[in-house]
């Protein structure tokens, strides 16, 4: 089974510059763990002890996984996961 994971510019240092990598797993958590086995350090940029990091957006196909199951979201063969760091900031 293969899931395409689209990687934002700022995280391509973990993938040797690749915009897109492949991984496998039954859930998003498993997929990220699988990716981390080949691209060490990537998982830590996306996940902290509370789950998916707050200012990283992760989408499964066309949906934000926050509205699905977060890290427990099931993924299947042929799915596309897209990672986009949130664009945010403020006064302080």
């Amino acid at each position: 089974m293969a899931v395409e994971v689209r990687i934002p510019t700022i995280l391509r240092s973990y993938t040797g510059g690749a915009k897109s990598v492949e991984g496998s797993g039954g859930t998003l958590a498993e997929l990220l763990s699988d990716l981390d086995s080949r691209h060490g350090g990537l998982q830590e940029r996306l996940v902290d002890q509370g789950g998916l990091r707050r200012f990283v957006n992760v989408y499964l196909n066309d949906e934000d996984v926050r509205f699905l199951g977060g890290l427990t979201t099931p993924v299947k063969d042929g799915d596309t996961v897209t990672v986009l760091p949130a664009v945010a900031g403020g006064r302080a």
Binding site: P8, T9, I10, F55, N57, Y59, D62, D64, R66, T82, L84, P85, A86, V87, A88, G89, G90, R91, A92
Partner: protein
Amino acid sequence: MLTISAALRARIVAHARADHPDEACGVIAGPAGSDRPQRFIPMDNAERSPTFYRFDSMEQLRVWREMDDRDEEPVVIYHSHTATEAYPSRTDISYASEPGAHYVLVSTRDPDKEEFRSFRIAGGVVTEEDVEVVAAPE
């Protein structure tokens, strides 16, 4: 250095003034690798706050996909500060995630004075840059 048309610069300032006292935010896309801002994309501040901004996650996906389809990249990422100076804050710096973009800050703290500045933010380092305003978009 940021090179931007007067028209686009004016649109950023107008957006900031219109959303005051909430922070305004948006993107100007341009052809990938060109460093030329061309296509103005005002974004909704999903936080609707005078002290914080954030692109709505689904809107961001749509816009980023559209740029990808058009072989564009975000050349300018702009937002406004409504009570403080037009300089990147600690959170602006820590969330900056497009190392190739020009981060434009506008301050609307003074209704009679315009503050428009541009910065590069990469690896947690802020560098202010000159803004060259040109007469018309290329």
